[in-house]
Subunit: 414 residues, 2 copies
């Protein structure tokens, strides 16, 4: 909440709005748009792009931000323009959406499985897409090689290593070396690197466990390299979701790797950010990482939901026109941050005691201090936790300036 | 699971599929489509339409099925064609989507709040839409009357009554009578009935509490009627989500109400159904209601998700390419029901011991008995709980026949 409250106390100061409207914007507090609405603050987006660009530069790592979070090709382009080496995605249809929107290099941070999905990727390779996916089994490696070799194509793959009880990925170094040999024996595949996802390591002492795991990945990658297990050209060692990217970057020590080896981190949520699980994770990054802390600035939440009070059936109980159909609810409920009467120039900060106590498909129940002059028809602004599951509820996300004027819509491709 | 297992053991018997393909279908087990995919079984849809049509007829109630579940206008039309009096919806944009698709009578089972939303509804009224919404406060009543009267329009409203700690709706009969008077004093509104939602009443003895509440609603509606509080014409008393519609229908006793008064139930999930919370709720209906039980037949689940095994990194642990981006997870995780090797004519029934233990944005972790010959690249079929939150993950839902041939796609309008 820290940064968002800051953002919006700026955002709603109410200057310049008339001017923006004259330029064709829609003013949320003036009810120019149908609510509920999901909006991204442009200044927060710019801030976050810049902060992560500086972080990657200072750390000597390359970025392949995970595009699944937003599935908004316009935002993919903004990340590429800010220096990202590639966009990460999770599925063949996601890759197709990004490719169609002009993204040229895509890391599918997942296995490519199934005839129709392979056909789809094959067609994109023909059209010039630079594409990489993860492989973690001989069965899948063989199926991929059979298909792509049969098409006269070579598929770039990264060998994925995982942790016991985790997600995908071979579990041991021995399995990794055997799969490396298997991949190199297949005509349709080129081994372009080593991949992992440390985000499934949790529990007490997660940071140390992650450091140890990533250290092991570094050693494994260097072993494969020394045994000439990778194809000629750029080799990527890639890990890191949005929570532990600093540990991954530090532990892989990009500066001391062979020249053709790059460290590629895949955080997906930094651009949108939140006031929940990723705000907490970023606070931990700032506590852990001197490099991150010394950069100056920080990520700030860009995503807000604005909705109406549609009923106040009991004192201190507001029913909001905002539900599971509109906003993530799986990692904390939306947090009321601001409120306004329609037509006001600026929103006021909500009391910290206001709280969403329950959410249904189309409604949220919000407790508020009944001394507040909140009325039916008032507009309440919320921040959220876990941006991915809010984004996928919207075909269009509005981009607002600091005065809550909507200037354009960004299309999502879920 | 009862009915779904039955459905699919029929569905995958594997006859007729070649023929269907010749007619342009896509065979899921032959990997003609990209997985994961959400599909609706046509026979289950037909069964459910027919069963609820017969239930409503036998109970003497009218149907206004809640369209928010699917937001698929093609399915709205199928419900209207099966006799529904109206389609219920929750928001102005939902109403606009249905209106644009040709639905003529819509009950917005919610408050209409906000300038842009009122403008949107006003335009649809001009175009001939028959529209009703709920009102539960003098503030909202006044705002609506001001707007619609200003446009030279009259808005049809239903007075909503709720329960303490519940959702919208005035809490007491006195408040209801006062709001009734208020509505009748306003030039832009016509009071067309009484509305409630009993689904928020829970806890021990929910059935009896619901009976008492609905009985009170019946008495209240008759009081308003006797005091000539309703506008001339058809009067609707409306309640009932998908869990308690039998109690609502029985308790309101449609047959003994005045001739111009109809009972309108609003179940939304019967068409899709599930193998979770709504299967349980329907089993309770069948236990409670002699009328429902004597109808013959029952609702059956129509919704299935089909996805790939993308990794088996440990014995008995399959990582499935299906996640929170694809399927509801808020009322129970997806249930593995069937599996097949690609190219097989028919899927086999999964062991009851198979279980999704965890779900992430793009993956599900499934425990299975490692004796089963499940491989990477195999296809697993799942049923679900809470259809609403699966439907809103898909822009298109495929409709399949009993042989898992896709014959058409239904567009959703979330």
């Amino acid at each position: 909440m820290r940064d968002t409250a800051q953002t919006l106390s700026d955002a709603v100061k109410g200057t310049g709005c008339k001017q923006q409207l004259d330029n064709g914007g829609w003013q949320i507090l003036n009810e120019d748009v149908s609510l509920p609405i999901a909006v991204l603050n442009q200044r927060a987006l710019n801030n976050n792009l810049d902060w992560m660009r500086r972080y990657a530069h200072a750390s000597g790592v390359s970025l392949a931000p995970h595009g699944k979070t937003t599935m908004a090709p316009e935002l993919f382009h903004s990340m590429v323009d800010a220096g990202a080496w590639a966009i990460s995605l999770a599925t063949a249809p996601q890759v197709a959406a990004a490719h169609q929107a002009g993204i040229k290099r895509i890391l599918m941070a997942n296995q490519l499985v199934g005839k129709a999905n392979m056909q789809r990727v094959g067609r994109m390779l023909e059209q010039g897409l630079e594409y990489y996916c993860f492989v973690d089994s001989a069965d899948n490696a063989k199926a991929l090689s059979d298909y792509f070799d049969g098409q006269g194509q070579t598929l770039n793959v990264l060998l994925e290593v995982g942790v016991p009880g985790g997600r995908c990925g071979v579990r041991t170094d021995e399995q990794a070396m055997a799969l490396c040999d298997e991949i190199n024996s297949l005509p349709g595949l080129a081994l372009r690197g080593l991949a992992f996802y440390e985000g499934v390591i949790g529990g007490a002492d997660a940071a140390n466990k992650i450091r140890q795991f990533v250290q092991r990945m570094r050693t494994l990658a260097l072993n494969i390299y020394q045994q000439k297990g990778f194809a000629a050209g750029t080799i990527s060692i890639t890990g890191a979701g949005s929570a532990w990217y600093d540990l991954v970057a530090e532990t892989l020590e990009a500066a001391s790797l062979p020249a053709e080896m790059q460290v590629l981190i895949r955080p997906g949520c930094y651009l949108i950010h939140d006031t929940g699980i990723y705000e907490d994770a970023q606070a931990a990054v700032m506590n852990r990482s001197t490099l991150a802390c010394d950069l100056g600035g920080d990520l700030i939440n860009s995503l807000q939901l604005w909705a109406y009070v549609q009923s106040i059936p009991e004192p201190g109980m507001a029913i909001i026109g905002l539900g599971k159909r509109d906003v993530a609810f799986d990692a904390g409920l939306p947090v009321p941050q601001w409120f306004a009467h329609p037509g006001q120039q600026a929103a006021q900060k909500a009391s910290a005691s206001w709280k969403v106590s329950k959410i249904m498909d189309q409604h949220a129940m919000m407790d508020f201090d009944s001394d507040a002059k909140l009325q039916v028809g008032d507009i309440v602004g919320f921040s959220t936790s876990h941006p991915c599951l809010t984004m996928d509820k919207w075909k269009y996300i509005a981009v607002v300036d600091d005065n809550l004027c909507v200037h354009r819509l960004i299309k999502t491709e879920f």
